[in-house]
């Protein structure tokens, strides 16, 4: 059998497929390769050529094709395959399902969420109390956060919130970046467990101490501080705890495989952690909007407090009512 001749015969088809692949590289449209490939015609032609190459590859062994040619065919098929099955676009329905059905169920059922929430809010509340109790623990805040930091904090909230919009707007930009960054770091380091718990605990303690310190009667800027943080606090703090929980879920999957291979265990726990992370991301977005528009605005404190109460109620409703287990039909991916 004459390979050179066979290759010559198939060569033109392969070249054509390559040209089409090149044309589809950026936007997936075949029309770039020439006017005759416009619309459905181009797709049909592409599919025909792709099937042809697949057949050639399948028969490569029977033809005794030289290895270099087989490698070439492998690459050509891979390339065409990448163009045929392109990355899926974002679907709103799937996202709605993820947020309102999978996520609360998963959050309710997942022990990692409980661990992360207890660590974060427990340490937050504890250090808030310790930071507030001036008479019992006079040095606590200074020792934990540092006196320089504390005076910087006081200075930052020195200006009245209804008079200095520009100061607070740029500050909220900084805090969106900073706090969401903490959440994402918790998620990422969660796969290694210890760093995540460390970051989470550290931020819980630091934030709690600052809150406690600012709540003291004799501290300047206390009113402005609570004016600023009340509205977005519930969303943001919950989001940090949730993203740490999603990260911990991944880490638990990596270290505690429950009889699966480590790969499969990781993939399954990733599958379980995605809804939690999606919920956290949604909360972060809500927090960012609140922080960008409501918090720095000179709106009355009553409105901000009302918003905080409403958001807390919404979060509780979301976790408890939507998350309450409701039988096998609607249950998400379960643990072992």
């Amino acid at each position: 059998m004459n390979i050179a001749k066979l290759l010559e015969k198939r060569r033109s088809n392969w070249d054509e497929l390559e040209r089409l692949c090149e044309a589809m590289e950026v936007r997936g449209k075949t029309v770039k390769a020439g006017e005759q490939y416009r619309g459905a015609k181009g797709i049909v032609r592409f599919a025909t050529l792709y099937r042809g190459v697949c057949a050639d590859l399948a028969l490569a062994d029977a033809y005794h094709l030289p290895p270099a040619t087989v490698t070439y065919l492998h690459r050509l098929v891979a390339r065409a395959h990448n163009q045929l099955y392109r990355s899926g676009k974002f679907s709103p329905v799937g996202f709605f399902d993820l947020i309102f059905r999978d996520a609360p169920q998963q959050i309710f059922a997942d022990p990692c969420v409980r661990v992360a929430t207890i660590v974060f809010f427990g340490l937050f509340a504890l250090s808030m109390y310790l930071g507030y109790q001036q008479s019992l623990f006079p040095d606590f805040a200074d020792n934990v956060v540092g006196s320089e930091q504390l005076s910087a904090l006081e200075q930052m909230y020195d200006q009245r919130i209804d008079g200095s919009l520009d100061h607070y707007v740029s500050m909220s930009g900084y805090y969106i970046m900073h706090n969401t960054g903490i959440g994402l770091q918790c998620f990422a380091y969660g796969i290694l467990l210890i760093p995540c718990l460390y970051i989470l605990a550290y931020n819980g303690v630091a934030l709690g101490t600052m809150f406690g310190y600012m709540a003291r009667e004799d501290v300047g800027g206390s009113d402005n501080f609570f004016h600023f943080v009340t509205a977005h606090g519930p969303f943001e703090l919950t989001a940090i705890a949730l993203s740490a929980a999603a990260g911990l879920r991944l880490g638990v999957g990596l270290f505690h495989t429950a009889g699966l291979t480590r790969m499969d265990s990781m993939r399954r726990s990733a599958h379980r952690s995605v809804p939690i992370m999606a919920a956290a991301a949604t909360l972060f977005v809500l927090a960012a909007f609140t922080e960008g528009f409501l918090s720095p605005s000179p709106a009355p404190y009553l409105l901000k407090a009302g918003w905080a109460i409403m958001s807390s109620a919404l979060i509780s409703f979301y976790f408890v009512v939507l998350g309450f287990p409701r039988g096998p039909r609607r249950s998400p991916v379960r643990g072992t």
């Binding site: 997936g28 290895p67 891979a78 990448n82 990355s87 998620f187 990422a188 796969i191």
Partner: protein
């Protein structure tokens, strides 16, 4: 396929819905690191351009409050770009970022399907864990510990080494892998210009059938012999050529390299129905041992 029988190589087999198994070449750390560095540069480039534009716009429109809003917007977009650049690029450009495009690599699902947005977000968010542990330059660490952190990437490197698909932790969690997706495409067919090959091939007995393994060996040899010196070629070819010379009853001074080429020519290039090759000045030459009394052998 059995794990033990698989060659030690960086390829991974993927079975498509068309029931075709094709191979991807995995991208190792030495392709991925430069791609990542390029991405870091691109990311900071975008941020710098954005900041300059913001400064310019705010400078043009002279309103007090706008400056504060610009700072806020700048910080938020810095945050968004630095965390979501990779995920957005991979979702919308079919598994590629600018760096990956420059170095010819692509992220795909472990099943060979393209990457979805969800997977892209997971693997890009987890990058920070793969870059751990952070280290600081010893001299700098004394003065400003929290500022200059250099990610060492040890965790990701260990993970890449230990997994068969060369996945870092983010890849494992997202179920993705990074493969080589090269743009240079040429179809290699070994050319044989030596005029002595065709005549020699015509003396190979017609009942000698080339097995599949033999064909593969011949093809690899013919493709790679250009990189070898004549002495090395003979050394490699002799293991096959000596038994074949015995079998074909050739004279023992037939060039080993030439015999391999002749077999290659007969297997891949010659057309069985073709006319006998025009031998030209070599007419009447025969490498067969029994013909040696009749003709004078020419030096090979």
């Amino acid at each position: 396929m059995n794990f033990l029988s698989r060659p030690l190589d960086t390829t991974i087999e993927v079975v498509t819905p068309e029931n075709i198994a094709f191979e991807y070449q995995l991208a190792g750390p030495f392709r991925r690191l430069p791609a990542y560095l390029v991405d870091v540069l691109v990311r900071y480039g975008i941020i710098v351009v954005l900041v300059i534009t913001l400064i310019f716009v705010v400078g043009m429109i002279d309103i007090d409050v706008l400056g504060a809003f610009a700072i806020g917007a700048g910080l938020v977009s810095y945050f968004l770009i630095s965390w979501f650049y990779g995920a957005a690029m991979e979702t919308y450009f079919n598994g590629r970022t600018v760096g990956k495009w420059m170095f010819g690599i692509r992220v795909i699902d472990v099943d060979g399907c393209p990457i979805t947005g969800r997977r892209a977000i997971i693997r890009n968010l987890l990058r920070i864990a793969d870059l751990a542990p952070m280290s600081a330059l010893p001299s700098v660490a004394m003065e400003m510990p929290p500022v200059l952190f250099i990610p060492t990437g040890i965790i990701g490197l260990i993970s890449v080494i230990c997994t068969r698909r060369m996945q870092r932790l983010g890849d494992i969690a997202a179920g993705t892998m990074v493969i080589v997706d090269e743009k240079t495409w040429r179809l290699p067919v070994a050319k044989i210009d030596d005029p002595r090959v065709a005549p020699l091939a015509s003396f190979i007995p017609g009942d000698y059938l080339v097995s599949r393994n033999m064909a593969r060996t011949l093809a690899i040899y013919a493709e790679r012999r250009h990189y070898l010196t004549p002495g090395r070629r003979a050394e490699i070819a002799r293991h096959l050529a000596i038994p074949l010379i015995e079998r074909f009853d050739f004279v023992s001074d037939v060039d080993f390299d030439l015999l391999m080429l002749a077999l290659y020519y007969r297997t891949f290039l010659a057309d069985p129905s073709q006319e006998p090759a025009n031998l030209g000045p070599l007419a009447g030459y025969s490498p067969l041992r029994r013909d040696q009394n009749r003709t004078v052998s020419i030096p090979t």
